[in-house]
């Protein structure tokens, strides 16, 4: 197979566009879409401090490289933030990949852990958990990312959500009927008081293309599967991958259509909603106590 643009050996068939890509054109295309997302949605402005959340996987380490290589020319300051949830046999390996990358790239790095902040690792929390692992991990990780980004003085928190992650989130929020969360999805989520604004520069790039990008660029990432991933998250993921295999471009069309109807969906949200301050931790909360503290209370970790 030959690249549709230069005739070199192809590494990838982009079926939704009907083209074959060689290593160089795959890399060029991913970097073009990354730059396009940043400029189209004005994700990063000159003079800002940007913190990138890095787990050590292909997506976040690729985003770290993409940002670090443009820090000077785009005129922003970059730092990195990693949350160690305490997932035995999984996270310690990926944290080492992050340590190596930030050292090589010379990026300021902050590592925070569930054990240090909450007194227990995720694995230990799950011994007494009533809810699924992704609930504890997602809610508590978001809390630590927000706190850590604030401590780093970030104007923006960049996360490496790819097209697959974003479409899975649309389905999950739809199935759960969670309009609040659904309407927060997008290339950037503007700040409410107490929250660092979030940006997702890889949101329109398929997971497979991000994996190829990381491999072809020789980025040393952690290749492993979270041992807790199961249930509805995994089922939605499998369904969407089957759909994409049989009907190429489905994921992107789902995302694009969601972006079109989101302004109308947002009109359904209660307009008098205002944030309070959590009486236990002082962070922003939808009620008297934030979701993180409610989960931690159930586990007997805050009083």
């Amino acid at each position: 197979m030959e690249c549709s643009f230069c005739g070199r050996r192809a590494v990838y068939e982009r079926r939704y566009a009907g083209v074959f890509l060689c290593d160089r054109h795959l890399i060029k295309s991913v970097e073009h879409r990354f730059r396009l997302a940043v400029s189209k949605h004005e994700l990063i402005r000159r003079g800002e401090r940007v913190t990138v959340a890095v787990s050590g996987g292909k997506d976040s380490l690729s985003l770290l490289h993409l940002l670090a290589e443009r820090e000077d020319s785009w005129g922003f300051e970059l730092s990195a933030l990693t949350v160690d949830e305490g997932i035995s046999g999984y996270r310690e390996r990926s944290v080492e990949k992050v340590r190596k990358a930030v050292t090589e790239l010379g990026v300021e790095w902050k590592l925070v852990s569930f054990r240090e902040k909450f007194g227990k690792t995720l694995d230990e929390m799950l011994e007494h958990a009533k809810l699924g692992p992704c609930t504890y991990c997602g809610v508590l990780r978001r809390k630590l990312l927000n706190e850590g980004a604030k401590e780093l003085g970030a104007d923006k928190l960049a996360t490496a959500h790819n097209l697959d992650d974003e479409v899975q989130a649309i389905f999950l929020d739809y199935i759960r009927g969670d309009l609040q969360r659904l309407c927060r999805l997008g290339p950037k989520y503007e700040a409410r008081e107490g929250f660092v604004p979030r940006i997702k520069p890889l949101r329109e790039i398929p997971e497979k293309e991000m994996a190829l990008y990381a491999m072809l660029r020789g980025i040393d990432f952690h290749l492993g599967s979270c041992p807790h991933r199961r249930g509805i998250h995994a089922e939605i993921e499998a369904f969407l991958n089957r759909l994409e295999s049989r009907h190429p471009n489905s994921k992107l069309m789902i995302l694009k259509f969601f972006d079109r109807i989101k302004p109308k969906l947002s009109e359904l949200l209660p307009q008098d909603f205002s944030l309070q301050t959590c009486k236990l931790c002082g962070e922003p909360a939808a009620g008297e106590v934030c979701r993180s503290c409610r989960l931690l209370s159930d586990l007997g970790l805050v009083f």
């Binding site: 192809a10 292909k58 999984y90 497979k208 994996a211 491999m215 290749l223 807790h228 998250h233 994409e244």
Partner: protein, 67 residues
Amino acid sequence: MKVKVRVWGRDETELDLPEKPTVEELLERLGIERETVVVKINDKISPESERLSDGDKVLIIPIVTGG
């Protein structure tokens, strides 16, 4: 024809396949969705429409990791 197939993290196995199958046909036989893996043939990343030859070494790398 015979090819050696290894899914990343597992042992290599030798498979007897019909003449010149594509990578996609191999993945279907193994019950693996093409969207979830990157495939190397003789150490080179290859599209799923690539045809396999006798004696090829195939490495299947799962890319869906979660978290």
